[in-house]
């Protein structure tokens, strides 16, 4: 059974159709990378998966449960999907530790002490054990993004969604963040990664999706799609970015 499945997603903003019937299947433990030119709808697709954007048509299943169902417990289901954003979106008034602890304590009702230990573990895992008491403003972009990953992991999600998480980073900081994501993937985490990092998609991705103009143009094994794209639009895009 798939970990995450989208069927026929359509999203419109006024006259503008950003997703025109997208299907996506993510198997458990799989890393699916989504690439495509800006404005192709890849971020919207990702945001439709945890209903930060509500699709106008189509359905999204997390395991057996449909999050787009009329009375679906959306908040509870979002706990099972971690999300990391391009602009980090850390909570500025809380320390790195506070950011990671908050949701387990407030949403899940986890005891503070246990949550604290878990948060420290996670910060250590992303290489920031020594930054636990710093506020986001005092961290570099790469450090902030790794805190954001730890924050999402603190809810023990079944799936992690990454929305161009390295696009706002200086080149030398990208490596640390990708390193953390690579370790996560090797640990068996199910991931959907919207990215411009073709190297990451090739080496870590199990499946690659190329989107253009709100639709999936081509998908398959990353080495095949990147090495020998069959569609003309994929070839044109890759010739520009590689």
């Amino acid at each position: 059974m798939s970990a995450l499945r989208a069927e026929g997603l359509v999203k419109r903003y006024g006259q503008n159709t950003v997703l025109c019937g997208v299907d996506l299947v993510v198997e458990s433990g799989q890393v699916v990378c989504v690439i495509g030119p800006s404005g192709s709808g890849k971020s919207t697709l990702l945001r439709c998966l945890n209903l930060l954007e509500r699709p106008d048509e189509g359905r999204v299943f997390l395991g057996d449960d449909e999050i787009t169902a009329p009375r679906a417990p959306v908040d509870a289901m979002r706990q099972r999907m971690g999300m990391v954003f391009q602009s980090f979106n850390l909570f500025p008034l809380k320390t790195a530790l506070g950011n990671v602890m908050l949701a387990p304590v407030k949403v899940r009702g986890m005891p503070r002490q246990a949550s604290r230990e878990k948060a420290l573990d996670l910060l250590a895992r992303v290489g920031l054990a020594d930054k636990a008491d710093e506020h986001p403003a005092r961290l570099s972009g790469g450090q902030q993004q790794r805190v954001a990953i730890a924050r999402a992991l603190a809810m023990d999600p079944d799936v992690m969604l990454f929305d161009e998480v390295t696009s706002a980073l200086d080149p030398e900081l990208v490596k640390d963040v990708l390193g953390v994501m690579r370790e996560l993937a090797q640990g068996g985490m199910t991931m959907v990664v919207v990215t411009h990092e073709m190297g990451f998609a090739r080496e870590v991705g199990d499946h690659l999706v190329f989107m253009d103009e709100g639709a999936i143009v081509e998908q398959g094994d990353p080495r095949d799609v990147l090495g020998a794209p069959r569609q003309e639009r994929t070839q044109r895009f890759l010739s520009k970015v590689l």
Binding site: L52, P70, D75, R78, M81, M83, P92, A103, R151, A152
Partner: protein
């Protein structure tokens, strides 16, 4: 020239009234803080009501309910920002003793004074809070929701703490305006500093008591202004980067 000066600065004549003026100013201060407490709390409720939304997958009744909540807040804010505070005070003062409502009909002028001002200023304060709520980046709410927080939790735990911090200067500004509007309660026969100053003036035909009332006010509002300036510079320092500071 001398008469002109004496009319405002004849402290010898005003001296016997200094005690009652001080007592009056104590009443002014009390009403200012009580009204401020009411408008800070009520304003926050109104601002959150004005931004109240439910998920689009909720039943129709919930969505209509949310719209009603917003309409209620907007109506309140527009009405109380649109009528003079004095009119509200007079209307409450004139009508409350005759209303068959247990607690309301027994309210004293003093209580009507701070409740009335609190109710009026809540409308202004609500808009200040709302500006603060709107100034918090959408990404903050999205991050909170993506972690499984409800809309209410995201508002309470993430958005409001940032919003309130940002609007401290304008809230302070409204508090200064409110403290000056406490003078209005003298019209509904609350013995605040203005009431006492007018009483003294009526007996002495000398305006020095009014000057003293003004000095009392300045002794209160000027420090508040300094706190306000300090809040603003602190906020600037926090939000502007770089070494060049004005």
């Amino acid at each position: 020239m001398r008469e002109f000066f004496n009319q405002f600065f004849d402290f010898g004549t005003a001296r016997p009234y200094l005690g009652s003026l001080a007592k009056g100013f104590w009443v002014t201060i009390q009403i200012a803080f009580l009204a401020e407490a009411i408008c800070l709390a009520l304003g926050l409720v109104l601002a959150v009501m004005r931004r109240f939304r439910v998920e689009p997958n909720r039943p129709l009744a919930a969505r209509v309910g949310a719209r009603l909540v917003r309409a209620l807040a907007i109506t309140y804010i527009n009405v109380f920002r649109g009528v003079p505070a004095l009119l509200v005070l007079l209307a409450m003062f004139a009508s409350f003793p005759f209303l068959p409502i247990p607690v309301v009909q027994d309210l004293t002028e003093y209580q009507i004074g701070f409740i009335g001002l609190g109710v009026v200023y809540a409308a202004y304060v609500a808009e200040v809070y709302r500006a603060g709520i709107d100034s918090v980046d959408r990404g903050q709410t999205e991050a909170a929701r993506s972690l499984g927080m409800s809309g209410g939790q995201a508002m309470r735990l993430i958005v409001l703490p940032q919003a309130v911090r940002r609007v401290l200067p304008p809230l302070m500004n409204d508090f200064i305006a409110l403290s000056k509007d406490v003078a209005l309660v003298s019209v509904i026969s609350v013995n605040d500093v203005v009431f006492e100053a007018r009483a003294a003036q009526a007996q002495t035909f000398n305006a020095t008591s009014l000057t003293i009332a003004g000095l009392f006010y300045l002794g209160f509002t000027l420090p508040l202004t300094w706190v306000l300036d300090w809040l603003i510079t602190r906020e600037e320092r926090r939000t502007t980067r770089g070494i060049i500071t004005p």
